[in-house]
């Protein structure tokens, strides 16, 4: 297998090297890629969409159809992970053992299934494999998370003017929650954001995007032609484009954030949702 792999990759590489000889020189301003389509985008974006970040404009307007499916790809990844991993029923052989720690002494005890711990404030439930107890980590994460989330919101909202947008912002928001899940434990997160909410929000995010497009369609123009939204948003058509881009970016953000959480929950608990990383 190693030899076959070597041969195939060398062959591919050789062909690519051979073809690269015909490429325009690197960073050549007069290459076809830089002279054919991109000038239009660079020069007309402001006029046509009033969004200074060309990447955002192209992403969410000129090629918004791509981006819509990109969001759908992310959604389907979350859904596939859920579909593959999530187990609601346990195998017969497995009995669940829950672990508790006595907060004062640090003694850990196991409780077999069927038994219960007498109600007491002195015990906290912990994971069997991983017992995060670092006070420093917990506290600093707790302090950091609001700022990270604020930054994430900024990235989404400010995507028109600076690098970033729904996708990056969504990942940051998702990462903040994942960070919380790592520093505390998975249960804490699931108590705050239920699985159902994550799953529904994920679909809602994509729905916001495609729904915006479908709304244009209902208003009598082509799919995703944001101009038609002007009467609804109460602005002129050009600004409507800019606003609509914000709307879809929010949709992307919601979808991506929740998918990241969903993926993490499923992967780190192998679909059992009892204990995570």
């Amino acid at each position: 297998m190693k030899i076959i792999g070597l041969i195939i990759s060398v062959l591919t590489g050789a062909m690519l090297v051979y073809a690269a000889a015909d490429f325009p020189a690197w960073s050549d301003p007069s290459s076809p890629a830089s002279t054919y389509l991109s000038p239009h985008f660079i020069e007309k974006t402001m006029e046509e969409t009033s969004v200074p970040n060309i990447v955002t404009a192209v992403l969410a307007d000129y090629r918004s159809f791509d981006t819509m499916f990109e969001t759908a790809v992310i959604f389907s990844a979350g859904l596939v992970c859920f579909f593959l991993l999530r187990t609601t029923r346990r195998k017969e052989s497995e009995t669940e053992t829950t672990h508790y720690r006595h907060t004062l002494t640090g003694v850990t005890i196991q409780i077999k299934e069927g038994h219960t711990l007498p109600p007491s404030d002195e015990f906290e439930r912990i994971d069997s494999l991983w017992t995060p107890s670092g006070l420093i980590i917990k506290t600093s994460c707790r302090l950091l998370v609001p700022f990270i989330q604020l930054f994430g919101l900024y990235v989404i909202a400010h995507g028109h003017y600076s690098p970033g947008g729904g996708f990056q912002g969504g990942v940051i928001l998702g990462a903040s929650i994942i960070m919380l899940a790592i520093s505390y434990d998975l249960r804490t997160i699931i108590e705050r954001i239920s699985e159902k909410m994550v799953a529904v929000l994920c679909a809602v995010g994509v729905l916001i995007f495609s729904g915006t497009g479908a709304l244009c369609l209902l208003l009598g123009v082509n799919f995703l032609d944001y101009n038609a939204l002007a009467p609804i948003l109460l602005v002129d058509p050009l600004t409507a484009r800019s606003h609509a881009i914000l709307i879809v970016e929010i949709g992307v953000g919601v979808a991506v954030m929740t998918t990241m959480i969903w993926l993490y929950c499923n992967l780190s608990s192998a679909g059992k949702y009892n204990q995570g990383l």
Binding site: A19, M68, A72, V80, L207, A214, L217, N227
Partner: protein
Amino acid sequence: MSQQYPALLVVVPLLSAMIISIAGWVNKRWCFPIAVAALGVAACSSVGLLLQVLDQGKVIYLMGGWPPPMGIAYYIDHLNGLVLPVVSIVALLNLIAAKKSIEQQFPDKIGPFYSLYVLMVAGLLGIVATGDAFNLYVLLEIAALTGYGLLAMGEERAPLATLNYLYMGTIGACFYLLGVGYLYIVTGSLNMVDIAGILPDLYQSKAVLAAFIICMVGVWLKMAFFPLHAWLPNAYTYASSAATGLIAPLVTKVMIYVMIRLMLTVFTPAFVFSFLNVSDAIVWLAVIAIVTGGVLALAERDLKKMLAYIIVAEVGYMVGGAWLGNRDGMTGAILHIVNDALMTLCVFLVVGNIVYKVKSYAFENLQGLFRKMPFTMGAFVIGAMSIIGVPPTCGFFSKWYLITGAIAAGHYAFMAALLFSSLVSVVLFFRVFEICFHEPFSDNHGHDHHSEAMDEAPLSMLVPLLIVAATLIVVGLYTGVIVNQIIQFAIPASLV
């Protein structure tokens, strides 16, 4: 609304996939009706599109109102006008047929399953409809990802088989993406028609050649063309029957469509057949694919894997036909996309019914099925006849065009391979029929034979199956119409 068909085609399934996903958390009973409605709308709009294409030629739809090459446009011509209804109708029929087995197999994951299913159909329809090379990649990935999910939920070995498929599929898609990148670097455009307009000046460029080769290899990987077919049989065999019913008929066929689209529209026949001189080699590969597929199928002792290897052989038919470099061969390849999708659906629905009732598809468990499930087996016979290529089932007519193409191109090995494959199919299917018909043996000269009563699959599985079986014959009889009214216009006049 009629000018919005191209958008409805893709958007309605996409939106409903989300709604189904939400409905799955609220009330599972809503999922199936929404899915059927969504695919119904898609099927209606695809048929509407076909009628529009027949009426006015090409239909162009600008996504977001941006004119190409700035924005993404959907181009519907006779080629994808023909393939779209096939994809949507096959998906719809399988969805209806699969309802019971989905409920049987994934009782607590109905929502995600339908959602993935509909999303995958949206992806496949998008691949066929799009006129943008990069958009095709995105849709390819959406169809692939959802496909992995659907395929991996099956028997114990399904995840491993699917992971292998995932590796291969990712390499394939990445190769395609790389090829598009090569095209972009030399042309600066992503729109297929636009690229085709720029390319003729660049035929000498090594980058264009490399782009073509990389794209083709990528697409071949995804369609499981001969040396790259290893992932297919396992992935299809161990999956649930609801998933294979969708994926086996459509994915390879859609990839063949992509190949033909690249050959005809993007690179144009002038480049593919006249400038490059590789047709012969690829037809030979197709010959090997057909023969290997047949021989490997002979070695299998279970129905689903046997059919999976037949798909490998069928892919050889279509690739070979498309690469013969003449009109008849191309006609045969395009016609076979339609026919093969239908007949693969037919046989896989049969497998679905058998699995639903017998819980197995190994040969030794198929005994006495003719008595037990006469209608299912009747449809199986028709499907088998079509794969063998017996008139008036549709399989014969595409084979006819492929063979005429082979004769016209003087490629007698390809013709021999097609005939060989027909003969092998006879052996393959009659081996199954013998088991279903004769066994279990009784010594009393067959007099007290098969006392078991009839035990057919439920109506909701049977009716779609019978519709498909009837369609095989109807399509066969209307071959003349399909070829003269549609396929003839799908092939550029430059290809003689």
